[in-house]
């Protein structure tokens, strides 16, 4: 499938991925973050049962301390 991840096209040789699978694959599982799929905020407790599919627009915002 092809998805838009933070405005960049990314290809995966799978039909779908859960959010946690995507975060593990991209080695992004350790940070605090906000995930939106096609404009909808995904709650943290749904990361294992929310599937990312072909053509989805996935936006991950990393939250770093400091301000």
């Amino acid at each position: 499938m092809k998805i838009l991840l933070n405005n960049r096209e990314e290809y995966f040789d799978k039909e779908s991925l859960t959010i946690n699978e995507l975060l593990l694959l991209k080695k992004l599982s350790f940070r605090l973050r906000i995930v939106k799929i096609n404009g909808t905020l995904i709650q943290k407790d749904s990361y294992d049962n929310t599937y990312i599919k072909n053509d989805d627009n996935v936006q991950i915002l990393y939250l770093m301390s400091g301000g």
Binding site: L32, I34, K36, L41, Y62, G66, G67
Partner: protein, 195 residues
């Protein structure tokens, strides 16, 4: 467009700022100078000496409440901006009440868990209100790493999204100021498009 016209347009709006530290204090100053009508600023903290390397406070204000001191400092600029200062710790229950009626909200916290809490609260409980987040600005140098990203019509991010503040990577005036002013710039852009 002349600045006087821009100021008149911006005077009709109300902007919420969550946090009055490095991001919040500097962003508030830029927005007041731009002529925003009302700023709703919330923070529970008092000014410490270590804040003075980046926050818009003065040595003789150490120990005072940030919101109160910031209101005074902004009023000294002489802009017509009205400041509503709330000495309060923000949480998912009070955020929708405190920031109701705001045209844009600025996330200006220091701690990443607080940033997460605010974003989740605004996105779920205040849908349709644009939120401008600052994430990743500790340290110095690397101008080219500081980005601006529009996630969608309601969520905007300023910062490098990768630098974590720590003892060896402290937040400092130049980069914190850049991000705070980028956030203010996004707010002005959103409001200039709004009728």
């Amino acid at each position: 467009m002349k600045f006087s016209e821009i100021k008149t347009h911006l005077s009709r709006f109300r902007v919420g700022i969550a946090g009055a530290g490095g991001l919040g204090s500097n962003c508030a100053v830029a927005l007041a100078r731009s002529g925003i009508g009302t700023l709703v600023i919330s923070d529970f903290d008092v000014i410490e000496e270590t804040n003075l390397n980046r926050q818009f406070y003065f040595a003789d204000q150490i120990g005072r409440k940030k919101t109160e001191a910031l209101k005074e400092n902004i009023e000294r600029i002489g802009s017509a901006t009205r400041i509503i200062a709330n000495q309060i710790k923000l949480n998912p229950d009070n955020i929708p009440l405190i920031y109701s009626g705001c045209d844009v909200i600025v996330e200006a916290f220091d701690r990443s868990d607080m940033k997460e809490m605010l974003i989740e609260t605004v996105l779920t409980r205040m849908p349709g209100i644009p939120l401008v987040v600052g994430s990743g600005m500790a340290g110095w140098g690397n101008n080219e790493s500081i980005n601006y990203r529009m996630i969608d019509d309601y969520l905007f991010v300023c910062g490098d999204e990768s630098t974590e503040a720590s003892q060896d990577m402290p937040p400092m005036a130049p980069r914190v100021g850049i991000v705070a002013n980028m956030q203010a710039n996004v707010v002005v852009e959103i409001l200039m498009k709004k009728q």
